[in-house]
């Protein structure tokens, strides 16, 4: 835990350092020639923070500096820009061009808000939406940024819950799905979780044009300490979500579920050995539309499990120390670990021991 909310002017000054460093031309060429690249935040062993672009072979093509720890990356195929968000309760987001054509741009959250680490662009690339904390009111909001006007913040709407984490645009491009983790935090107390006894996570659908609530789903009362955190969409439009449990350690609640519009949330039954291998913590969820599978990772339990999206059955399970980052790769998934490993979908492994890969990874198609 670093300084919870640093002075914005100091931050923006500090953020300028190193960001202007352009990548070497050979790396550019390699980036542009690649079929797809992967983007992820990292911490280096020397303690510095950044975001990297990896080739399909897991090679670091390009990296930018970050002033503090980042979390997830989102991408706009229209402008071909990516955004890496600060990890909660961070106050910055950095917009960067993974091919290194433009210098990165840093934006800061407004007073009274901090980022939760996830965001998404509108399909036309005009707007960027980010999950944020209205911490004095303990309320989740989605901050709206105008991507065509230097990412100025033009508004916000509620997430109808507390502690929103990942958000998605499944299906029609107008409906935003938000996982409200249900956990109250306040930057005065770092990352301490303030309402474990009374937490109430939810999954909501919001109209991104009007900000209206379309649907809100909660888990049964007995599972009120099951924090819904990460999501991805399968080819049928069903949203798969992964949870983290804050109750008694020896409890073994189901941790992976799916949400279809108009239906109640459904938790997926799993064999006991698979479930206990998660140690009540799913760190990332990724769908592979081509393969019809969904992968979930647990850095706590050192496990990566692939599920058949149609049947909900476990297809495979593997042990990988501190695995968390996941992205579709061929018929499998590329995965990254806190030990610096990058495991391709084919199984080939590359090690970058200088890097501790952060929780998430994004696949960027080079269209």
């Amino acid at each position: 835990m670093k300084t919870p909310l640093i002075d914005r002017r100091d931050f923006l000054r500090a953020a300028g350092i190193g960001f202007a460093a352009a990548i070497a031309p050979p790396a550019w060429a390699a980036t542009l020639a690649a079929d797809a690249v992967f983007a992820t935040a990292f911490v280096k062993r020397d303690g510095s923070f950044g975001a990297a672009v990896l080739s399909e072979a897991g090679k670091v093509l390009h990296a930018i500096d970050l002033p503090d720890r980042g979390h997830d990356v989102t991408f706009d195929p229209v402008s071909k820009r990516s955004v890496v968000f600060a990890r909660q309760p961070g106050t910055f987001a950095v917009i960067f061009d993974h091919a290194g054509r433009d210098a990165p741009q840093t934006i800061a959250s407004i007073t009274g808000r901090h980022f939760f680490g996830h965001g998404v662009f509108s399909p036309d690339g005009a707007l960027l939406y980010a999950t944020e904390n209205d911490f004095d009111n303990a309320a989740g909001v989605i901050g709206i940024y105008d991507a065509r006007a230097k990412f100025s913040r033009i508004g916000e709407f509620p997430t109808y819950g507390m502690g929103p984490h990942e958000l998605l645009l499944p299906g029609d491009g107008r409906t935003i799905a938000v996982a409200n983790g249900g956990i109250e935090t306040h930057p005065d107390y770092g990352r301490a979780e303030l309402n474990i006894a009374t937490m109430k996570p939810s999954y909501v659908l919001i109209d991104r044009v009007t900000g209206d609530l379309i649907e809100k789903h909660e888990l049964p009362a007995a599972l009120h300490q099951l924090s819904i955190r990460h999501m991805d969409t399968d080819p049928s439009g069903t949203v798969w979500f992964g949870c983290q449990y804050r109750g008694t350690g020896t409890d073994r609640p189901l941790l992976v579920g799916r949400a279809a519009r108009g239906k109640e949330l459904q938790l997926i039954d799993m064999p006991p050995d698979i479930l206990s291998g998660f140690r009540n913590y799913i760190g990332s969820v990724a769908a592979n539309p081509d393969a019809g599978t969904v992968a979930v990772s647990s850095p706590e339990g050192n496990s990566l499990v692939v599920i058949d999206a149609a049947s909900g059955r476990v297809v495979s399970s593997s042990t990988l120390v501190e695995v968390c980052g996941l992205a579709p790769d061929g018929s499998g998934f590329m995965a990254t670990t806190g030990a610096g490993e990058i495991i391709e979908g084919s199984g080939a492994t590359r090690s970058e021991p200088d890097y501790v890969w952060d929780n998430h990874m994004l696949r960027i198609e080079q269209v």
Partner: protein
């Protein structure tokens, strides 16, 4: 993800003189020593203090007096001290039934607990004076924060007379509830097939700890997370970057002037746990200095916190005392680096290891 990395199942033992290089410290031994040498005594002590506190409250209610109030307050402070040591073990039985939050609802940023306690006092809600019924009420009304308000908050002076028996009865019920939770947790840790057996016997069939790495990781996590909690949540919650940013009323136990007692108790608990587990014995000889250094710094931290006495707003207004709190912050930061980076590196853990790291 910065968390857990593999701590070898059998920790390498330092080369000690004539001992062979292959000698090893078993993870289960480290955990068993932590349980027997720290966890059980810490929760037993909490239970004992909570019992005495409940008796003191009942005595006060039967015969309200200045002396009785003083005695109850002294037992409250002793219980806070015992809890501050025990609370570093924030997993296992204390997590069942929200006991952790019921024992200490803090931080109470929106004064929820205060409002509910005041409402109960003003409405003289009879169900709040029964420890059994109190357990079903808001968590903010059940624990140390609520009792602190009863004993030290506005209107506490009425406890010396017979005009407001309700306040004392409610306080006695809170003390009884604290005692009953402490008793349950103490018993749970002492059950032969309870949580202690789960933690000390890692294995493939174990529901929580499938190998020694996971069991020892839980222990090392206590040191790292609690140091972070003491510094970033408890201390920085009221100690601002500059005096203008100080928030004395956000300090834990500010009403009873137990803020620094609690900070000292947390560090004393960490030191006692570190010593009892003998985790330092698993370090190679050229890194053995770390164990000694950790102990010295923890002792230093406890002494620094204890040297800061008095109402926390006065402490913060006194540059010399405030500086001691800043020094305490530095000690905890240095300990975080020593344990979180250097010690964990010796055991092959990643640098940013912390269970508060999850997202």
């Amino acid at each position: 993800m910065l968390k857990r990395s593999a701590l070898v199942l059998v920790l390498p033992l330092a080369l000690l003189g004539v001992f062979p290089a292959s000698a090893a410290v078993k993870a289960s031994d480290i955990i068993q020593r932590a349980i027997d040498g720290f966890v059980r005594p810490a929760y037993a002590s909490l239970h004992q203090h909570a019992e005495i506190l409940t008796k003191a409250m009942h005595k006060l209610c039967e015969a309200p007096s200045q002396g009785g109030l003083g005695a109850a307050r002294a037992e409250f402070s002793a219980t806070v001290d015992a809890w501050s040591s025990a609370e570093i073990i924030g997993f296992g039985p204390i997590k069942d039934n929200n006991r952790l939050e019921r024992m200490l609802y803090w931080p109470d940023r929106k004064s929820l607990g205060l409002k509910q306690v005041q409402a109960a006092l003003s409405a003289k809600d009879p169900t709040a004076t029964d420890p059994a019924q109190l357990t079903g009420k808001s968590i903010a009304m059940q624990g140390l924060g609520a009792l602190e308000f009863v004993l030290y908050g506005d209107g506490a002076d009425t406890l010396t007379g017979k005009d407001d028996p309700y306040r004392c009865a409610y306080g006695a019920a809170v003390a009884g509830n604290i005692e009953s939770m402490a008793k349950d947790v103490n018993e749970a840790w002492n059950k032969p097939d309870g949580f202690a057996a789960i933690w000390a016997n890692p294995g493939p069939q174990n529901p929580l700890y499938r190998d020694g790495n996971e069991a020892v990781t839980e222990l090392v996590g206590v040191f790292i997370n609690e140091l972070e909690m003491v510094r970033d949540v408890r201390l920085k919650g009221f100690l601002g970057g500059k005096p203008e940013a100080d928030k004395p009323k956000q300090a834990i136990y500010w009403r009873s002037q137990n803020t620094t007692t609690s900070l000292a108790g947390n560090l004393a608990g960490i030191d006692a746990l570190f010593q009892a587990s003998k985790l330092g014995d698993a370090l190679p000889s050229d890194a053995r200095w770390m164990a000694e250094s950790i102990h010295i710094q923890l002792v230093n931290g406890v002494a620094t916190a204890k040297s800061v006495q008095g109402p926390i707003d006065k402490v913060l207004a006194d540059p010399a005392l405030r500086e001691k709190l800043e020094h305490f912050t530095l000690i905890t930061s240095s300990l975080s680096t020593l344990i979180g980076t250097r010690l964990t590196a010796e055991f092959g853990l990643t640098a940013g290891f912390s269970s508060l790291d999850g997202d």
